[in-house]
């Protein structure tokens, strides 16, 4: 019986429903929903802002408050170990990490918190984590500008080099998107992981050199050097500080290291997410 039915289907040109298309065709479908993706991100930002009285201002206030807290606490704790140009140093760290953390957390929830949508309309599921990271990217623009403003306030003078922030942010976005895609699928398999993501992001936050200068630690522990040289978030922070802060130089080899991270992460994320496309509708 079973063989006959699939023959009937094949001889009448029927295709298997919900079959995962090949990667190229799948990405094509995702691109064709670009309008959907953008609208989803925009509408979400708008509704998020409408629920708070201060609205869009929170996008700036949230990282500012964290920068204030971390800056004050660790400014005292570190005392003599404080990196040069401490205020913009911390601001760069906190603001950039906020984009990474929010992308990772939002990616982790993008499928499991949208079951109603996933189970009622057919569309390539990759749209959901992509829209989430896009939403975070748009929310990241005002803090990014504010970060530049603070750097100028603390004595940095804009140069043409600052334009290199643009390609860096593109790489950063690719990296975050890759991470978000990986977590979007992982939480579908293991819901408990969404409880763990805050700890993962905190670990990354504290190891990335947000408020301390790893260079000073490395002087005493040289064997840790490769860890920081390959720490993707530290690479982003170090390049950014080198570009916009006085007294810091861009570690040039970090450019190719982080480019590698971004490309590999995005590629792995896309393939990993796409592999499970047929699974996302199943309730669990």
């Amino acid at each position: 019986m079973s063989e006959n039915l699939s023959q009937v289907a094949a001889s009448h040109g029927l295709e298997r429903v919900g079959a995962r298309p090949p990667l190229g065709a799948y990405l094509g479908q995702v691109l064709r929903r670009l309008d959907f993706t953008l609208s989803l991100a925009r509408f979400r930002i708008r509704s998020e802002n409408e629920r708070n009285r201060l609205g869009m201002l929170w996008v700036l206030l949230r990282p500012t408050f964290s920068a204030l807290i971390y800056g004050t606490v660790f400014g005292f704790v570190l005392a003599g170990m404080r990196p040069e140009n401490f205020v913009p140093y911390v601001v760069v760290g906190v603001f950039l990490l906020e984009f990474f953390n929010s992308s990772m957390n939002a990616g982790a929830k993008s499928i499991i918190h949208n079951t109603a949508l996933v189970q009622s309309l057919p569309f390539p599921r990759m749209v959901l984590p992509v829209a989430k990271v896009l939403e975070n990217l748009l929310n990241f623009v005002p803090p990014l500008l504010m970060m530049l403003g603070i750097a100028i306030l603390w004595g940095s003078v804009p140069t043409w080099d600052w334009l290199l922030l643009l390609p860096l942010m593109v790489l950063f976005w690719m990296f975050n998107q890759g991470v978000a895609l990986i977590f979007a699928r992982l939480t579908v398999h293991m819901r408990d992981l969404s409880q763990l993501t805050p700890f993962i992001s905190r670990m990354i936050f504290y190891t990335a050199g947000v408020f301390y200068d790893p260079a000073k630690i490395l002087a005493d522990h040289p064997m840790l050097t490769p860890i920081f040289d390959w720490h993707p978030l530290y690479e982003v922070l170090a390049i950014t500080r080198g570009l916009i802060l006085d007294g810091y130089a861009v570690p040039l080899d970090y450019w190719w290291r982080f480019s590698l991270w971004a490309v590999v992460m995005l590629a792995v994320g896309i393939v990993f997410f796409w592999k499970a496309e047929e699974r996302y509708g199943r309730e669990n």
Binding site: S2, V8, E15, F36, A116
Partner: protein
């Protein structure tokens, strides 16, 4: 059903039967859920039960090998008691819930018109209309062209800018229905949508489904109302405990089902 085995001509099966082209083929479809059973049996007066609750993965076998062929221009009623697997079968046909074994083949992707939770509860009705249309693959121009008609149909003019989480279940069902029927469908699955909303909306939606059916190739109607099954379907399948219990003329199957109840 007489299945051809020779495979000589493409529509040998159809020629021996009064059917058109097959549009949906369900081939031994199984669906299994793994549910983490965290609940504990509630024993009166037992305090220690809190410490010894059992956590185990339970397998729920919702569909146990369902096979049938749906042909062009058929209206197929789907009946069965609550929890028999009707809705799971319909979601599997649309590809929204993947089959754990077996497969569903279809000419085009079937569309499910169902009731359920809001699409994106935090967004307004009008944003949901736009997003729903875009998700179904309509272009922005097409949605803008149909927007007024959709709003008019749902009768939610006064609430369209409010977040969907503030809607009553009837209101959000109307909105979802309006969104889903804004597009032409080749294969349409209607999951108890007829029982949604008040009398006036039921009349409107029944008329709209009739219109869609005239244009669509094949319609599945999941319902507990034997009246609407009798009125609209020429064939009925009966699912019971995940197994296809009967498949045939509506009047025969419904009569058998009513005896069973």
């Amino acid at each position: 059903m007489a299945e051809r085995t020779d495979g000589a001509t493409p529509d040998a099966g159809a020629s021996s039967q009064p059917h058109g082209q097959p549009v949906v083929v369900c081939d031994d479809v199984h669906v299994e859920y793994s549910v983490l059973a965290t609940g504990k049996r509630v024993d009166k007066g037992s305090v220690s039960g809190f410490m010894q609750r059992r956590r185990s993965m339970k397998k729920v076998h919702a569909l146990k090998g369902v096979s049938f062929i749906a042909y062009e221009n058929e209206s197929i009623g789907v009946i069965g008691t609550n929890g028999s697997g009707k809705s799971t079968l319909m979601r599997t046909i649309t590809g929204l819930t993947p089959a754990s074994a077996g497969a569903v083949y279809a000419r085009t992707r079937p569309n499910l018109l169902g009731i359920g939770a809001a699409l994106i509860p935090d967004l307004s009705g009008s944003q949901n209309i736009i997003l729903g249309g875009l998700a179904m693959g309509l272009s922005r121009e097409e949605i803008e062209g149909r927007y007024d008609e959709i709003v008019e149909f749902t009768g939610l003019q006064d609430f369209i800018d409010m977040p969907m989480r503030t809607y009553s279940s009837g209101m959000s069902a109307r909105l979802k229905f309006g969104i889903a029927t804004a597009k032409e469908h080749d294969i349409l699955i209607v999951d108890e949508a007829l029982s949604v909303g008040d009398k006036a909306f039921q009349r409107k939606s029944e008329a709209r489904i009739r219109g869609i059916r005239e244009r669509a190739g094949t319609v599945f109607l999941v319902s507990h109302s034997m009246r609407s099954i009798r009125d609209t379907c020429n064939r009925t399948i009966w699912i019971e405990k995940g197994v296809l219990r009967a498949d045939g003329e509506t009047k025969d199957v419904v009569a058998e089902y009513e005896k069973f109840k």
